[in-house]
Assembly symmetry: C2
Homo-oligomer: 246 residues x 2
């Protein structure tokens, strides 16, 4: 049993879609609220990062000597790895085989850090190429490149490798790329600039992460409070509730 | 200089208004976003708790042996302490003198935990008695008590003691009780049920916490990233950016 005041930690490791997950309607904040008083949600999202760069972080973020490793970690990369060579975001590009191997190294590291850690792989979301173009024009006007820096098709190839790896390693995954495209009008409904998430897009991620967490037995209603619920505290003898717990 | 991957922690210690601060539009989530990649926001909000009960927690939450104490902590109690005797929430009531002394103990504990910790006292928000009554009727119908369980006047007395203590101890404070009432229509604009915060009410708390944090030199734009911004990473030689940092 955990000691008083300790809570399991859920780490969100990823790129800008993770970094922005505490904005209004964000999936990270919603997850923190779902597990309110049960778990701490720690965001480690890095705008613009691909899996190659993530490898420079993961040993620091998940040290082997950690006395209290995260209970769960989401790994949510690929949107930058899938940026196309020869286009405006080519600096972010990581070849598909390397993407998969980098993800594998990250999963291995987390499992080495804690064999019982729940590790969840999340594919990049789909790309709305028109939305990306509009966004580029809003930033650069006439100077915006004609050709898209990301395509939905290529991002889909990365998503598939992410899923294949998850199956190989037998870790749960969320196929965001496919799931979002099941809804008509996903381009504007779920994506704000063709790549990042609207509140509705965030809601999908939140729903899916909670689903996978629950399947792995992180059900908020069954997890212990770190301290007693107020209804269990007697007005006359409050100490009793705290003594029972410790 | 902090080591890679470490970030200062900001702890939000309080009652339900803190616990709910990661809901959509919540001030806690907004604070996490303001200090994105610069600091971790840790929520320790306990629905229904008063300062008397908070004293059973604070030694656990702020152990003296802590190797990495929080860089800042907000203390946001009083809404429950100010519940009236003889009314439906009297179990939560704490006498005004004890409220002030309990707050003092909490501040002392935090300063003992870390003399350099920024400690910010936040008064309870004002109470909209009509809003509370409507809320009670929505829950209990005809059985709702005629007399309010909290009044704005009494909560104001608690707010004043909170401010007086902050001045005595020379710690910064946020006079939410007064500030909210400066805006016409505060009752419905800032409070959802006469006591808890609407997104607009959350925005006030967020704005004020950021203001006080900035005055204490926690300015997000001047705080270091834990890891390099992607624009500082070379596509050809990414390692360089990470070596420079460590």
């Amino acid at each position: 049993m955990q000691s008083m005041g300790d809570r399991p930690r859920f780490v969100l490791f990823g790129d800008s879609i993770t970094e922005q997950s505490f904005r209004t309607g964000g999936w990270g904040a919603a997850l923190a609220d779902t597990y309110s008083r049960k778990a701490d949600v720690v965001v480690r999202g890095y705008d613009g990062y691909n899996t190659r760069w993530a490898l420079f972080l993961h040993n620091h973020l998940f040290p082997l000597s950690c006395s209290a490793p995260p209970a769960a970690t989401t790994i949510f990369f690929g949107a930058n790895d899938a940026a196309l060579l020869g286009r405006t975001s080519e600096r972010l590009h990581v070849p598909i085989e390397e993407y998969k191997e980098n993800l594998r190294k990250i999963v291995y590291r987390l499992k080495e850090c804690s064999p019982t850690m729940l590790v969840v792989l999340i594919t990049p979301p789909p790309v709305d190429e028109d939305g990306r173009k509009e966004f580029a024009i809003s930033l650069y006007g006439d100077k915006a490149m004609e050709l898209p820096e990301r395509t939905n098709e290529t991002t889909g190839v990365y998503a598939k490798q992410c899923i294949e790896l998850a199956k190989e390693l037998q870790v749960p995954y969320i196929d965001l790329w496919s799931q979002m495209q099941e809804t008509a009008g996903w381009q504007k409904m779920f994506l704000s600039d063709g790549l990042h998430l609207t509140p509705e897009g965030n809601a999908i991620v939140h729903r899916e992460v909670v689903r996978v967490f629950r399947e792995a037995h992180f059900r908020a209603e069954e997890m212990p409070y770190d301290f007693p619920h107020h209804s269990a505290i007697s007005g006359d003898d409050p100490e009793r509730a705290f003594l029972q717990k410790s």
